[in-house]
């Protein structure tokens, strides 16, 4: 099995997997505790619009998808602040419209386009060196942001009402989290694809939340778990010639199943 480390594309895949998983674990913690999972799902799907437009205009995929998904995140944030109780309507709307835009622009793009599936479900073996730089930059951005504003983000995530009373600009921080999750979704497109990314952001987080005593530990542990699932998933996908994104997600799901089963057993014994 060690021969997989000799291929450049496999090395790139492993590095990409770790970088993206760590970012997904941290940002996933932010969206889970702030109940922004569905919102992030909407942003993830709508980012396909950016991919379609990037293909049509001949821009780099990451650039097009980043601009589009950050735009979608800001739009959802503004709409949600205006009418909080219709938030899920706006999310569903942006979700579908973004994807429709992507499909139409792909149609309009001349030439052979079979890549749709790879964006939706990931194609980690096609990660280039430039992609790695972009992923590394995003992880750095996530780490710096979370460290710089750890306390207000913690306060808001635990008790938004109180945080607001203490003068913390919660709306600005919600928007910040949404922008980070939009960018995380984009870098995760290559690894697990934009449909499966939500699982990578929530499954490790869900386990980490119950094993840790502080939010900081939760984010770190969640990042480590996500990396672990990704590595195991990649190995399996290589060994049995399976799709990498789906393998990663099912490994994560199996991890969650084991965790829950173990907990039930322990609880049953004591």
């Amino acid at each position: 099995m060690t021969e997989i480390f000799h291929y450049t594309f496999m090395q790139n895949a492993l590095i990409a997997g770790i970088l993206v998983s760590f970012a997904a674990g941290i940002v996933g913690s932010l969206i889970v505790v702030n109940r922004l999972v569905f919102l992030t799902g909407g942003i993830a799907h709508s980012s396909y619009g950016g991919i379609g437009m990037a293909l049509y205009f001949g821009l780099p995929i990451f650039l097009g998808a980043s601009l589009f998904s950050v735009g979608a995140a800001l739009l959802i944030a503004v709409l949600t602040f205006r009418r909080r109780h219709r938030s899920d309507t706006y999310i569903g709307l942006i979700w579908a419209v973004g994807m429709a835009i992507g499909v139409i622009f792909t149609d309009l793009t001349p030439g052979y386009n079979t890549d749709l599936m790879s964006y939706l479900f990931g194609s980690i073996l096609a990660v280039s060196r430039e992609d790695l730089w972009f992923m590394g930059f995003l992880l750095l951005l996530v780490l710096l942001t979370v460290h710089r504003w750890y306390r207000p983000i913690l306060a808001m995530s635990y008790d938004a009402e109180y945080a607001e009373l203490r003068g913390i600009p919660t709306r600005r921080f919600y928007t910040l989290i949404l922008v980070l999750s939009a960018l995380t979704v984009v870098v995760a497109i290559k690894v697990v694809g934009l449909i499966l990314v939500i699982a990578l952001m929530t499954i490790p987080t869900h386990i980490a939340e119950r094993c840790t005593r502080s939010f900081y530990a939760m984010m770190i542990f969640s990042g480590i778990l996500a990396s672990l699932f990704t590595l195991v998933g990649l190995m399996l996908s290589y060994a049995y010639d399976l799709s990498s994104g789906a393998s990663i997600i099912l490994v994560a799901a199996a991890g969650l199943g084991l965790f829950e089963g173990g907990r039930t057993l322990i609880a049953g014994r004591s």
Binding site: R151, L154, D159, Y162, L165, S214, F215
Partner: protein, 266 residues
Amino acid sequence: MKLLEVEKVSFSYDRERALEEVSFSLQEREFLAIIGPNGGGKSTLLKLIMGQYEPQEGQIRVLGKSPRQAREEIGYVPQNTHVNLEFPIRVLDVVMMGNPKRHEGQTLLERLFPIRYNEIEKRCAYSTLEKVGMQDYLDRRIGDLSGGQRQRVMIARALCAHPRLLILDEPTSSIDAEGQEQIYRLLKELSREMGVLVVSHDLSVITRYADKILYLNRRAYLHDLQANPIHLDTPEGEHFCEVEMMQMLGAQNCNCELHRDSKESS
């Protein structure tokens, strides 16, 4: 200077009047309880005092300043402490949320990346937790505490800012009778150092601990318990309903509008 001065404050939502010409004041080291039916304007009044809403008529002063300017002088304990019990957060972290002096004693690195607490901050958190008797729970997860313990932590969080006015919204709504008694004893103690304003339904407890009672039902009626004490002879743990309470207050020969109404009708 009065700690809190509410002067002829009126407030409406759309067309519905929530508060009408509400006036009362609170001195330092006074313990005021606000009672009244649901929808009587209690939450609205709290939001006004904390500067979340602006009064449409009249004015509110906290230590001579507007509520927004006086934000640092007010400590707040919300009604619902059962929020986010799954959230991995220690008692220490919750208490530190109340600390307004974010940069005190921090080095540049700590200021840029404020993950850990320095000694000054820890000491501040420890001393407020000591005040509410929770100093041994510093490292516990907040979700593992009982309702009463959690309520104490929330009070410690509010005390962390060294407020001159402590506001609590139904602090014992989800706590058993014994825990209730302990919380009110604690509040009584705290009212030796600061003004305490509590919204509550626990009448039998209030009448033993508060200095004044404000009955709020769109309009406000103030009853001074120190001048006219009320003795509710009920078995331990039983509650008076507010109607009975107001009849009791009426019997105290208080000459305000509400009591005249209730006398005429009875």
